[in-house]
């Protein structure tokens, strides 16, 4: 199967190509949808096969597809090396899990979109599926890429598709702006990511994930000083923070809700935004050698989680609530990764993908039913009109609130447990977050489905068609069951996911052997696999020794579990009380703490103030240079802190006046010189004779006097 792993991204790509080249012009909606969905379905089947395969043998398989950048000699810290990149895919448990999530949820969302987007014009419909398929292709490339560069192709590719899909309704200025904002903020992160990649090459002499992990495993853990590995990891994290919307680069995600709802579900909840978490998991070995950076990641994650959750409490746009919720949950994942619980992070990634996709698609159904209305305050009482949606969304909300035995409970609990062992302060933050999560989630449910107000929609709301509800139901089932693969030992489970992911995450040393495709395994393969298993076990033991936290006492684990369930329930109850039983309470609270309310409503004013700050950040690195530049050109030191636009405009003017001015001044002086010379040409013979004599006397004078 591994040989055909390239078919995974290939099918969606082909679907995108067909729909893009021909569909926009010629295909009917049905054909377009069929092509898109079938391509995803095939990929899903392949991913399942791959997952099964990966489960069978806990080893990483690299598939060489073709040459890309041929080796170019370079001197690195490792001495002589060669910079090169091949089209290499890597299929290992982590990649398999990610591929399953992408294709699985991707397929469902495709299916959902066939109905959701039906009101679009035909060409636009095909364009949508073209982009969506392309996104899946790039996302699969991202998670399957065997080295940083291939991964980066997917990384940037999903950014592009995100840009295109956010701005899908490009005639809306806000949508186009949001798309651009997303891309550029991501680019800022990519700056760090790219530099991180280069630093990694410089340090390791290779960009292959396996090789990097192997090399990094031999470096000392940088506990005390902020060394080379830490720098690499920090830079990579900048990229991850951009993609996964963490402080300080999270501001694009709420705006990204301008895109169609399935896009929000797929890209901005389930898959693309988790790429940052994925990249930390993928380079777990590397990151584990930079504990200082891990600390930073944990802190950033926890703060992001809390901040986003608190903002979500007061948002009134249904999708924005979910967007802030996504940011918050991503923060939790980073927190997990930061405290060393990488498999917990990935576990939460998976469960979150299910329930958040479910919530988004549910909200899509609500919006669909409300004919495009997204304001929570104008909804209410939809329970009877949208029974399927209601039930599935409640399942999703319960999951995200951490109510057992739904998926979110297991994954979140694992994170809280691990965090508790590492750092109590972070645990407190995370716990508050989970309380707030339950609160805002059920606030959303209450606003949408309860209440006595008749919905202010022109037509009576109606349940979505089957193509939309079926994915909802499937996702709801998934939300219920997917958590079972991570039942902790405390509850008598096997924590299967952690075991499954271990080969991707544990410290490994690479042994590569080559195999020609289509030929039987060479002798010794089985032995090697067995050996690898054995070593994995040993690694795992070493891992446990390194992170003794995970061996928390049973009692503590139980207590924490109970506490977290309690927190979720409290949040739910509070939301119920505030928004269903006593709807006037929130208003009073808002009046009482108007300052806090305004702060939250305006997202801590970060968005307003941050617009300038982002701009400043964008050009922060350039500014110093540019100031020097100003000095160089006309000795003029510009004031500090002018906005970019003004800077750019002035730069333009300086170009016109300063640099050009020097050239024009040369021209001017030549013109003046010409004028002077011509003035001298009086036309009078005697003047000419005089000049001749003067020239002669000039010679003479210099000669006689200046010897």
């Amino acid at each position: 199967m591994t040989t055909f792993v390239w078919l995974l991204p290939f099918f969606p790509a082909a679907g995108a190509a067909i729909n893009g080249l021909f569909g926009i012009r010629w295909f009917s909606r049905g054909v377009t949808a069929a092509i898109a969905c079938v391509s995803m379905l095939v990929s899903l089947a392949l991913a399942i096969a791959g997952g099964v395969n990966a489960a069978r043998a806990p080893i990483a398989r690299e598939v060489f597809l073709g040459e890309w950048i041929p080796p170019i000699p370079a001197v690195t810290l490792k001495g002589a090396a060669a910079f090169h990149a091949s089209w290499v895919l890597l299929i290992d448990p982590l990649a398999a899990v990610m591929a399953l999530v992408v294709t699985g949820i991707g397929f469902l969302i495709h299916l959902y979109s066939t109905a959701y987007m039906r009101s679009e014009p035909r060409g636009s419909y095909a364009r949508f599926f073209c982009y969506l398929n392309l996104f899946c292709a790039f996302m699969l490339l991202l998670v399957l890429g065997g080295n940083f560069i291939v991964m980066f192709v997917g990384w940037e590719g999903v950014g592009l598709c995100s840009y295109l899909l956010i701005g899908f309704w490009y005639h809306k200025g806000s949508a186009a702006n949001a798309g651009r904002k997303a891309f550029i903020v991501n680019r800022i992160g990519d700056w760090g990511f790219l530099v991180g990649i280069m630093a990694a090459f410089f340090a390791f002499g290779t960009l292959d994930f396996q090789a990097v992990a192997a090399q990094a495993g031999r470096w000392p853990i940088e506990r005390a000083q902020f060394g080379g590995l830490s720098i690499i990891c920090l830079l990579l994290f900048v990229g991850a923070a951009g993609k996964s919307a963490q402080i300080p680069l999270y501001v694009w995600l709420p705006d990204a809700m301008e895109g169609p709802t399935p896009v929000s579900a797929l890209i901005h909840a389930a898959t693309m935004v988790t790429a940052g978490v994925y990249i930390v998991a993928r380079n777990a070995v590397l990151f584990s050698h930079a504990p200082l950076v891990l600390a930073i990641i944990a802190i950033v994650g926890a703060l992001t989680a809390l901040m986003a959750a608190s903002i979500a409490i007061v948002q009134t746009d249904i999708k924005r609530v979910l967007a802030y919720s996504t940011i918050s949950q991503l923060g939790l994942m980073f927190l997990a990764a930061g405290v060393g619980a990488v498999s917990a992070a990935v576990f939460h990634l998976v469960t979150h993908a299910f329930f958040k996709a479910l919530l988004f698609l549910g909200s899509g159904a609500v919006i669909h039913a409300m004919a495009g209305e997204q304001d929570l305050r104008r909804m209410g009482g939809l329970k009877r009109y949208l029974p399927v949606t209601f039930v599935t969304m409640v399942v999703g909300a319960l999951a995200i609130a951490g109510i057992p035995p739904l998926a979110g409970f297991f994954s979140k609990d694992e994170i809280l447990l691990q965090t508790f062992g590492r750092n109590r302060a972070l645990w407190v933050l995370a716990s508050i977050t989970s309380l707030l999560t339950a609160f805002y989630m059920f606030r959303l449910i209450a606003f949408t489905f309860y209440g006595t107000d008749e919905p202010s929609s022109p037509h009576p709301p109606h349940e979505a068609p089957g193509t939309m509800t079926v994915p909802l139901m499937i996702l709801a089932i998934g939300t219920i069951v997917v958590g079972f693969m991570g039942i902790p030992r405390t509850l008598g489970g096997a924590n299967a996911i952690e075991h499954f992911l271990a080969p991707s995450i544990a410290e490994t040393r690479a042994v590569a052997f080559l195999k020609v495709a289509g030929q039987p395994d060479p002798p010794g393969t089985q032995e090697m696999i067995a050996q690898a298993r054995e070593e994995l076990e040993r690694d795992r033991a070493a891992h446990r020794a390194a992170f003794p936290v995970s061996e928390a006492t049973e009692g503590r684990a139980w207590a924490l579990m109970l506490l977290s369930t309690l927190l979720g329930a409290t949040g739910m109850a509070a939301a119920w009380r505030f928004y269903v039983n006593h709807p006037e309470v929130p208003r009073r609270a808002a009046e009482r703490w108007s300052g806090v309310h305004a702060l939250l409503l305006n997202k801590y004013y970060v968005d307003d103030l941050y617009d300038a700050t982002i701009v400043r950040g964008t050009f922060g690195a350039a500014r110093e240079l540019w100031r020097v530049d100003l000095r160089l050109i006309d000795g003029f030191v510009n004031a500090w802190g002018v906005t970019t636009r003004v800077l750019a405009w002035m730069s333009h003017m300086i170009d016109k006046v300063g640099v050009d001015g020097a050239v024009n001044a040369a021209g001017w002086s030549a013109g003046e010189g010409s004028f002077l010379v011509r003035r001298g040409q009086t036309g009078l013979v005697q003047n000419y004779a005089l000049v001749i004599i003067l020239g002669l006397f000039g010679f003479l004078t210099v000669y006689l006097l200046a010897r």
Partner: protein, 504 residues
């Protein structure tokens, strides 16, 4: 050797000059003999005699000898220049033909003067004695005085003649004063004797003064700043073909004389021997350095804002003299050969450029203003291309001859270590493009004003312009022959010995 009078050899080697003179006399006769309608044939006489002279020169091109008791050298250098003069004269004649009909001058007289001037130049190129050089110079100069004022009713022509004459005579006096001092210091007028005398004795201030006077006198003739002031006025006022001839022939002849005097007569004082200034040894190269820089800068600056093409070209020719002086300053064989090469190149492009101006002279149109050139390319594309070539060549843009010439001049400066001069020269060269390109803009971009009379080509004009354009292009693309010729000619300077053999 001691016999007084001519030998056969003297006569043989003087034949080119004699033929040109004979042609001139024939033209005088024709002027009287031919009826008004057949006066046009005068041009044929001039062309034929120039052609004959050129043939003879080509035949004796391998000579390296002195005649007339060592006062007259027939060497590669002289023949190089003489061919240049004859060629320029021929082109001038071709250009003049229709111009004269429009202006109403008498062809016989005119061509007579052109040929006489040519003869004078030829003598200047060969003379290795101050007296001979002086005679040649005056022969040429007097003819040019008249030619400049040839359009008698034309006030501008008149004024040009007056200015040229007065200043020419004035500068001649300076030159002669310098020559007399040189004679007094060395006791000889023969250049090589001068060189010998100066090589043994010390120099002193008087020699420096003499050199300065020579520089001034010759600088006047080559129109180098600050002795250039006459040039724009005279060039503008004189009949256009004469301007062409003046700016090419007269300048080249003066350069020949300059090279003869300084490289044959004063080679030892090239870089030092004339005292010192600011602790630096002073030679005549220093004077030419100053002349070169001033000429380039002043010429280009003044040309920048001209609207009269003739005047612009006059200033440009001052700048061009500055470039050529670089070769003199360098003083190396490469420098001399570069100057020779550039003179040839310059002849082609300058004659061509003036040829186009001549062409623009029509009934009712003076043709020498920039705006008169507007739309030339759409009326006569071939002429437009030719003008483009001439302007590019003057500016030193490949693939034209001017590029090769300039490269070689700059190379000589660099080789001799004059980096500063080279930098000034290249910057000037870039500056000059501004006004050359302006001409191109008028020719190619601007639209003509409606109602201007058509541009009519004559056969003679076509030949002349085609020749100039072909030379400008060919010497730029494949300058090999010219390079070798110039190098050989430069090398022959000062090598000629009194002849042996039957021709004695």
């Amino acid at each position: 050797m001691t016999a007084i009078g001519f030998s056969r050899g003297d006569l043989y080697y003087l034949l080119p000059e004699l033929i040109v003179c004979t042609g001139a006399l024939l033209l005088l006769l024709a002027d009287v003999a031919l009826s008004q309608q057949r006066q046009a044939r005068a041009a044929w006489v001039a062309i034929l005699s120039l052609g004959a002279a050129a043939t003879l020169l080509a035949v004796m091109s391998a000579s390296e000898t002195t005649i007339a008791r060592g006062t007259f050298a027939v060497d590669g250098f002289a023949i190089f220049f003489k061919l240049l003069f004859v060629m320029s004269a021929a082109v001038t004649v071709l250009l003049s033909h229709r111009y004269l009909t429009i202006e109403g001058g008498r062809p016989g007289e005119y061509y007579f003067l052109v040929l006489c001037a040519t003869a004078g130049m030829m003598i200047m190129a060969s003379g290795i004695d101050l007296i001979v050089l002086f005679i040649g110079l005056e022969t040429m100069a007097v003819c040019f005085y008249i030619l400049a004022g040839f359009l008698k009713p034309n006030r501008r022509s008149n004024e040009a003649a007056v200015k040229y004459f007065l200043l020419g005579a004035f500068s001649l006096a300076l030159l002669l004063y310098g020559m007399s001092l040189l004679y007094g210091l060395t006791g000889s007028t023969a250049l090589r004797a001068i060189a010998t005398a100066l090589a043994s004795g010390s120099s002193g201030r008087l020699l420096a003064v003499a050199v300065m006077l020579l520089v001034a006198g010759l600088g006047f003739k080559i129109a180098a700043a600050p002795f250039h002031m006459w040039a724009p006025d005279v060039y503008e006022g004189a009949p256009t073909p004469i301007t062409a001839f003046l700016s090419v022939g007269s300048k080249a002849a003066a350069f020949a004389m300059l090279l003869r005097i300084f490289f044959e007569g004063l080679p030892a004082f090239h870089l030092d021997g004339l005292g010192s200034v600011f602790g630096q040894p002073l030679g005549w190269a220093s004077f030419f350095y100053v002349l070169s820089v001033l000429s380039m800068t002043i010429g280009n600056l003044a040309a920048l804002t001209q609207t009269n093409v003739k005047r612009m070209l006059a200033y440009s020719s001052i700048a061009q003299a500055g470039y050529m002086l670089i070769g003199i300053v360098a003083g190396t064989p490469r420098g001399v050969s570069a100057a020779l090469l550039y003179l040839v190149v310059y002849a082609f492009m300058q004659l061509g450029a003036f040829g186009v101006i001549v062409l623009m002279r029509r009934e009712g149109v003076a043709g020498d203003e920039l705006r008169d050139l507007a739309g030339l390319s759409s009326r006569q594309p071939a002429i437009g291309i030719a003008m483009l070539l001439f302007m590019l060549s003057l500016g030193g843009i490949p693939p034209t001859a001017g590029f090769m010439g300039k490269v070689w001049l700059f190379a000589s400066a660099i080789e001799a270590g004059y980096f500063g001069l080279a930098v000034i020269a290249v910057l000037n060269s870039a500056l000059s493009l501004y006004y050359y390109v302006r001409v191109v803009v008028y020719v190619w971009v601007r639209r003509e004003e409606p109602g201007t009379p058509p541009i009519v080509l004559s056969r003679a004009m076509i030949v002349a312009l085609a020749f100039a354009a072909a030379g400008t292009l060919a010497l730029g693309v494949y300058p090999r022959i010219l390079f070798e010729l110039a190098q050989a000619s430069a090398a022959s300077l000062g090598r000629a010995e009194p002849m042996l053999g039957w021709l004695r």
